[in-house]
């Protein structure tokens, strides 16, 4: 091995290997930075208690005439479920009985006719421990749209000195008296606001409660579905929009920030990773050319080694060692650079969003290792190919 090394190391160009090292290092760092930033930002953008939500679209049918209800037929729902843009579909199930709600603020009693709706839990953008219903408890958790509170604070409250402005946490402490009646039954419950939704523009109660109460207070087993919530890949997909238009479905305006932020994050990370891949690819081309040139310069020695009985793998070994050493050190160096880089933004990110960043570097390291193994396999492959080519020539 020592002699083979002594023979073959001649013509190794530190300059060429240096260029490869730097180019591949840049490529690797850029790719891994993309992965790391994505890991760290993703929890803020999607998942539980995200700052902004996933991509959901709520659709309904326009009301056309008095006395006719705009509802979705079971066939229409099945067809929607089968569409390629649909990831998941949930139905808004309305309460089919009368709800009369009242609150008491500073001695001022307000009461009104209300309604409830429910959607399956997985579509909720508000997570709360209190989001459950037990018939024995007589308590109903409620989620209202955040803009209802705004409506009250900047509308009602402004017009009356008696009605104070209230915060979200104050709102959560207020108990509502809810009187449900229908099908000859009537019962009074205590309602409590447990959260505010940006996504869902309705008064929501747990799905379990709607199922239970519809049986108790409504005769009609058949529930009319007038709104649907659909989880989609891309809410601005033209196929989706034209499908809605064709079938006369009207998507609700949704808070713009959510889908745009996730979209921008994906595009941003996509661009970063793409640039990284281009760098890595270029560096691989440099390495390939460099190895080919090196093998070409040593062609006579390689031939002679094969003629005195050395195997392809024995002859390839010094070159493989170079490739492995380079790739492993590039990988280690990149992960180290990423870990330093992460320190620069992680505190800022935690401070500006008021959240702890739970992301780890695990995915980054896995990606780094995968790239490293890929590059090593590629290198060993081209070295072997070239050597076999040389020994077959005669």
């Amino acid at each position: 091995m020592r002699l083979i090394w002594k023979l073959l190391r001649k013509h190794i160009s530190l300059f060429e290997l240096g260029i490869f090292f730097i180019a591949n290092l840049i490529g690797m760092v850029v790719i891994l930075a993309g992965v790391q930033v994505y890991t760290d930002l993703r929890p803020l953008v999607s998942g539980e208690n995200a700052l902004v939500g996933n991509d959901y679209v709520v659709i309904s049918k326009p009301v056309k005439r008095v006395n006719s209800k705009a509802v979705f037929s079971p066939e229409e729902i099945e067809e929607l479920k089968a569409q390629p843009f649909t990831l998941r579909l949930g139905e808004f199930t309305p309460a089919q009985y009368q709800v009369y709600g009242g609150i008491n603020i500073n001695g001022q009693a307000l009461s009104t006719l209300m309604f409830f709706e429910a959607i399956p839990n997985e579509f909720m953008d508000v997570k709360s421990k209190e989001w459950k219903f037990k018939p024995s408890k007589n308590k109903i958790p409620i989620v209202i749209p955040r803009n209802y509170l705004n409506l009250y604070n900047f509308g009602f409250s402004q017009t009356s000195d008696m009605l104070p402005q209230i915060t979200e946490s104050m709102m959560k402490d207020i108990e509502l008296e809810l009187k449900l009646s229908g099908d000859g039954n009537s019962q009074t419950f205590t309602g409590k606001v447990v959260g505010f939704s940006d996504r869902l523009n309705t008064i929501l109660v747990p799905y379990d409660f709607i199922t239970w109460s519809n049986k108790r207070f409504a005769k009609n087993e058949q529930v009319d579905i007038s709104r649907l919530i659909i989880e989609v890949v891309n809410p601005s997909d033209p196929a989706l929009l034209s499908y809605f238009k064709e079938h006369g479905y009207v998507p609700e305006e949704k808070p713009a920030e959510s889908s745009k932020a996730l979209f921008l994050l994906r595009v941003g990370v996509g661009v970063i990773i793409f640039i990284g891949l281009v760098f890595s690819l270029l560096s691989l081309i440099i390495l390939t050319l460099s190895i080919y040139l090196l093998l070409q310069k040593n062609i006579e020695k390689l031939e002679n080694l094969r003629l005195i009985g050395y195997t392809t793998s024995a002859v390839a070994r010094p070159y493989n060692v170079i490739a492995v050493v380079l790739s492993v050190s590039i990988m280690i160096l990149s992960v180290w650079i990423i870990s330093r880089m992460r320190l620069l933004y992680i505190d800022y990110l935690a401070e500006s969003t008021g959240r702890e960043i739970h992301g780890t570097m695990a995915l980054t390291i896995v990606c780094g290792l995968a790239l490293m193994v890929g590059i090593i396999i590629f290198n060993i492959g081209i070295i072997r190919r070239k050597i076999v080519e040389i020994s077959r020539k005669r």
Binding site: L3, N304, L305, L307, G309, Y310, V388, R394
Partner: protein, 214 residues
């Protein structure tokens, strides 16, 4: 490997030559292990080509070459490595030494692969051939005759059934030729190997079982 057979072998460039007179080309020739053969040839009749074909270095011939009864075209690259490490050894006409390695390193690069000869024996050969003082000299700083002796020592650093010698003494004086011949006979006898030597004039003075003219 007990026999090397040539069946109607001819270099492609001679294939159209109808006036070819040869005891080897286009004939059936069999080389047996343990026997010694001399192939006499004029320059340009293809003696180096013949050894290159047998050694698997070149394939530009017609006809068949068989090791025992296996056509050598069916051998894989790995088979050739094994054959070159333990069955066939060759002293190339152009020697194929590595210029930047020393004389001793040129021998060791082979001996480390085959782990055949103890250093004592190798140094003994250097001694006998009168190049003991060149052990640590780079091969490209040696004269052609000295390089020829180094290449022979390298060729002996492996087990073999046949030893191919391409003009082994072309650059040696008579005394060194005799020393070389003695070493070759000793080693070939010890291994029970056959010898196939070529020459275009001056040939190694030993008893040949058969002399063929190319």
């Amino acid at each position: 490997m007990n026999t090397i057979k040539l069946k109607g072998v001819v270099p492609e460039i001679f294939a159209s030559n109808k006036e070819l007179r040869s005891e080897v080309w286009l004939s059936d020739v069999e080389f047996e292990q343990g026997k010694r053969y001399l192939i006499k040839a004029d320059s340009g009749t293809g003696k180096s080509s013949l050894l290159s074909y047998i050694y698997g270095q070149r394939g530009d011939y017609r006809g068949d070459i068989l090791f025992n009864d296996q056509n050598i075209l069916t051998l894989s690259s790995h088979d050739w490595c094994m054959i070159r490490q333990s069955m066939l050894s060759i002293l190339f006409q152009d020697l194929k030494l590595f210029g930047e390695l020393t004389a001793l390193e040129n021998v060791e690069i082979k001996n480390r692969l085959t782990k055949t000869q103890p250093t004592r024996i190798i140094k003994g050969w250097f001694e006998e051939l009168g190049i003991a003082d060149k052990l640590k000299t780079r091969a490209d700083h040696l004269s052609y005759g000295q390089q020829q002796r180094v290449a022979l020592i390298r060729a002996l650093c492996q087990p073999f059934n046949f030893l191919l010698l391409d003009e082994p003494i072309s650059h040696l004086d008579d005394r060194n030729s005799e020393v070389m011949r003695d070493i070759i006979i000793r080693e070939a006898t010890r291994q029970g190997a056959g010898i196939i030597a070529t020459s275009i004039g001056k040939h190694m003075d030993m008893e040949y079982n058969k002399i063929l003219s190319l």
